[in-house]
Symmetry: C2
Subunit: 535 residues, 2 copies
Amino acid sequence: MLGSRFARQLVRVAALRDSRCRSLVVRTALTGHIIPDGRFYSSKIQPRLTSEAYPYVKRDPSFKKLTNEDVSFFKSVLSESEVLEASEAEDLAFYNEDWMRKYKGQSRIVLKPKSVEKISKIVKYCNEHRLALVPQGGNTGLVGGSVPVFDEIILSVSNLNQIRSFDAVSGILKCDAGVILENADNFLAEHGYIFPLDLGAKGSCHVGGVVATNAGGLRLLRYGSLHGSVLGLEAVLPNGEILNSMDALRKDNTGYDLKQLFIGSEGTIGIITGVSIMTPTRPKAFNVSFLAVDSYESVQKVFVKAKKDLSEILSAFEFMDCHSQALTKKHLPDAPYPFEDDYPFYVLIETSGANKEHDDAKLESFLESAMEEELVVDGVVAQDETELKNLWQWREMIPESSQAEGGVYKYDVSLPLQDLYSLVEAANVKLEEAGLVGDAPKPVIKAVGYGHVGDGNLHLNVAVREYSKEVEKALEPFVYEFVSSKHGSISAEHGLGFQKKNYVGYSKNKEEIKLMKDLKQHYDPNGILNPYKYI
Amino acid sequence: MLGSRFARQLVRVAALRDSRCRSLVVRTALTGHIIPDGRFYSSKIQPRLTSEAYPYVKRDPSFKKLTNEDVSFFKSVLSESEVLEASEAEDLAFYNEDWMRKYKGQSRIVLKPKSVEKISKIVKYCNEHRLALVPQGGNTGLVGGSVPVFDEIILSVSNLNQIRSFDAVSGILKCDAGVILENADNFLAEHGYIFPLDLGAKGSCHVGGVVATNAGGLRLLRYGSLHGSVLGLEAVLPNGEILNSMDALRKDNTGYDLKQLFIGSEGTIGIITGVSIMTPTRPKAFNVSFLAVDSYESVQKVFVKAKKDLSEILSAFEFMDCHSQALTKKHLPDAPYPFEDDYPFYVLIETSGANKEHDDAKLESFLESAMEEELVVDGVVAQDETELKNLWQWREMIPESSQAEGGVYKYDVSLPLQDLYSLVEAANVKLEEAGLVGDAPKPVIKAVGYGHVGDGNLHLNVAVREYSKEVEKALEPFVYEFVSSKHGSISAEHGLGFQKKNYVGYSKNKEEIKLMKDLKQHYDPNGILNPYKYI
C-alpha cells in the first residue's frame, strides 16, 4: 500500500530547467500586512515604544543627546539626500520599528552615507561626542537588534549598494554591505554561481546584515556557515578607523583572523561596509520530496540515511511535526495537501546537483530503500516546479500559520539531535499541566515544532489566541532552562539583539561571557555601537 | 589522436571498494631520513641552533630562566612520566628541532600533562613567574612555530589523546587536542564519516595542531576551512584560565564567536586542549584523472569547467608545471609516467561521491567535452587503486624531488587565480637575469610551480644544488613584493611561525597589524606564549 503511493508518485521529476536556476523556494517570511508606505509587516499591531514596554531598561546617561550642532556636522559631511530627520511628514517609523513590530525606538535622525569614508567620519565624531549609534541594514532581524531602543542615531548602509567585483574563475564576490541578498544572488546566477546562504527575507535583507548576524538559513546544510565562506570584510571600527580586510583569497594564514570577530557581532564592535565571499557553482537541478514518518527516532534515522545515500547532493533536510501541519492545513484550506492521512512527523528533503538524472536516480533509490526499511511510511516527490513550490509551502507557511489565530511565542534554539523534539513535548506537557491548552477561551492552541534538523536547529512556536502573562510565565525561563540542561543554544540563528541580551547565560558559561564583555569593552570603550543589546 | 588516448584509457575505473574508504592519497611528506631514535626528518643536515643562525634575534630578558624551584613545582603537579628533562641520555632533540631541521631550540624541559587541569596549573605558574612556553603538538609545522627559539619550556599536548565523544547522527566529533589526525580519521571511517581535512603529515600531526595553525591541505576545496567546520574549542589561556567552549552545535548565535580567534593563532594566545568538529559523510567512490594542458590560461578554463560539470563531486584540483614534472621524473626514473610527450602544464582532478557510476559518467562527460573544446590535450584516468596512487604521486612527490639534488627554497603563497603562475615565471626570469640558473656549478636547477589551484594556493619551489646567499638575495624580498603587489598572501597554509614573523607586512596592512599586536598584548600581556614568533 505505502509502496504503491510512491510507485504512483515516483516518476521522474519533470524538468525544472530554468536556465538561471533561480531558487525555487516559496518565500513567505516577508509577506504580511502592507501599511500605507508600502512596507510589509508581520503584524497589524501598532508597536509600543521599547522604552515603555521595557521600563526597567534605562537610557545610558553617558550618551549625549543629539543637538543642532551635531546635525550641522552630519550635514557638513553628508549631502541632503543622505540625512533624514524626523518631521511632521517623516516619522522615521520605517527605521525605528522592526519588521515584527515588537520594538520601537525614538530616533530623530537617520544617516545614509554613500561612502565608507563618510561613515568613518561620522563614527569618529559620534565616538568623540558620545553619541550612540545603531547600524542598520535591511532591518529584517527577529530579535530587535537593528532598531534603536531610545534616541540612538540610525546609521543605515542602504546607500552602499554596489557589487565591487566578481571573479568568474574563483567565484569570489566583493560587494558593499548594503547590497540586497537577492540582488547579489541574481547577479551571481548570471555567472553560474549561487550565494551560499538563502533566507526568507532575501528580498529585503543586506549582505552586510547577514554577515553581521551570522545568518543561517536554508543552505547551511550544504554550504556551511559564513565563518567558512566569508573571505574578507571591510568595517568601520567604533573609533572611526576603517579596517580594510577585503581579502579575496581562499587561504591566508598570516595572523589572527580578525574578520571572524565581526561575523555575528551584530554591529556592536564595528559597522561592516564591505564583504568578500566565496560563492559555489549554482546547481543545475533541484528535487523535493515530502515524507511521512511515524516517530522522531525514525526522523533521525532518515536523516542519517539521507546523509549517506544522498551525500553530496543533499541540500535541505527539514522536519515538521503533525501539530504544525494541522495549523497550516487550517490556514491554507484550499492548498493541495500531499497526504490523505495524518502522521506524527514529516520530513522535507531537497537535493540539488549538477546532473538531474543522477540526482533522480539517487533520490529514487534512497526512497525505495527507506520504505523497505520502514523508516518512511508515505511520501511524494515533486514532479514539476509547481509541485516543488507546493511541497515547500508546507514547511515555509508554518510561521504565518502559527500566529494566524492571534499570536505566537517563538523560540529558535539549537539542541543535540536526539533531544531536539523533546523540547516541544516538554513544552506541551508544561502548558497542559498549567491548564492553558485547549479550545477557546484557553489561550494556547498548541506548541508546535519544526526546523532545520540537518543543522540541529529547532523552531518551537507556541500558537496562542492572545498574549498572556500566564503563558509567558509557563514558558520562560522553562524553555531556556531546558535548552541549557541539554547544552543547546538559546539562539541558533536569530542572534541575541535586544530580546535575548539577558539570557545569554543559558548558553554561555561565565568565562565565555566575561571574555565577550571584555572584547566589547576593548573595542568600544565608550559603548556607542548598538547599546542595550547583545552582551 | 588525442581522443583515442582517452578512448583507450577511459574505461570505467575499476572498483575501489575498500569498505572503509581509506584515503587513497600517496603520503610522502613525512618520509625522509630516519634517525636513530626512529624519527623521520626531511633532511640529513644537522640543524644549527636558531639563536646562532639568527643572531639578531635576542632572548627577551624579561623571561625568567628555569630554576630548580620551577622544576620542583612542575613535578608537584605532574607525575614522573609527564616531565622530561635534558640529560646525558636525553637531549630533547625530538622536541627542540622542527621536522625540516631548519630550527633548533635549547629547551631543557618538556612537560607532557595528562589533563587540562594540569596544563592550566602550569600555565598559571609560568605566567606568574614569567616563564616562556612553547605549545607543541605533532611538531610537523613548516615555519618553525612549534619549537623553542631559546630556552622556552616545551608544553606538549601529546598525552591528551582521547576521542571524547562522537554523535553518529550529526557527525559531530569531540576529541582531545593531542589526537593524531590519522587516528581521528580512522575512527571516523569506522562510522562512515571523514575528517574534513587531510595532510601529508596526517600520521604525526595533531588535531589541535591543525586547528591552531588553521591547516589547509587536500580537502579544503570540498569541505571548506576549519573556520567553518570547527564547532567548539577548549583552550588554556595565557593566565591559566580554562576556556570551555566545546560546543557541539552546528548553529549558535549567542555572542562573539571566541573560538575563531584561536583557529590559526599558532599557540600565541592560548593552548588548544580540545576540539569539537563537524565531520562530513565519507564518500564511497574516488576517481583520479591526470591531464595535460598547453597553457596556464587553459588550466583556469579547465578549472571553471570542472567546477561547473563536476560540481559537488569535485574534491581536488591540483596543477603542476612541466618543470616540476621534469624534476619528479628524474627523481623517480622507474615510475610509470602517464604521458609519452611533455606538455607545459598538468592538472590532477579527483572526484569523490556517493555513487561510483554517477561519478564515472560525470567525469567521462567532462573529459570528452574538455577535449572537444581543446582545453585538454592529453589525459589518463586511473583504472584501479594502484593507478590512482601512481597518478597522485606525480603531484605528491614534487616536494621531495625539488630538494633531491641539494636543497630547496620553498614559498607557500596565495594569489588571485589569474596571477598564480606568473610568480613562477617572474622568479625564473629573476634568477636567469642574475645568471644563477643552469648546469652545475650554477646553484639553481629551476624554479618550479604547483599547488592547489582550486584554493588559489601556489607552492613555488626553487630547486638548488646548494644554499647560497646570492640565490636568497635574488628571491627575497622579491617573492614577497610580488605577492604583495598582487594582493596575495605570503602564507597560504603554512602559517607565520618564526620564519615569516617579520614579513607579515607584505600581506597585511598597518591597521590589521596594529589590531593583531593589540590582540596579542590584550590576551597575553606578559608575552609568555610562543614568543619570538607570529606577529
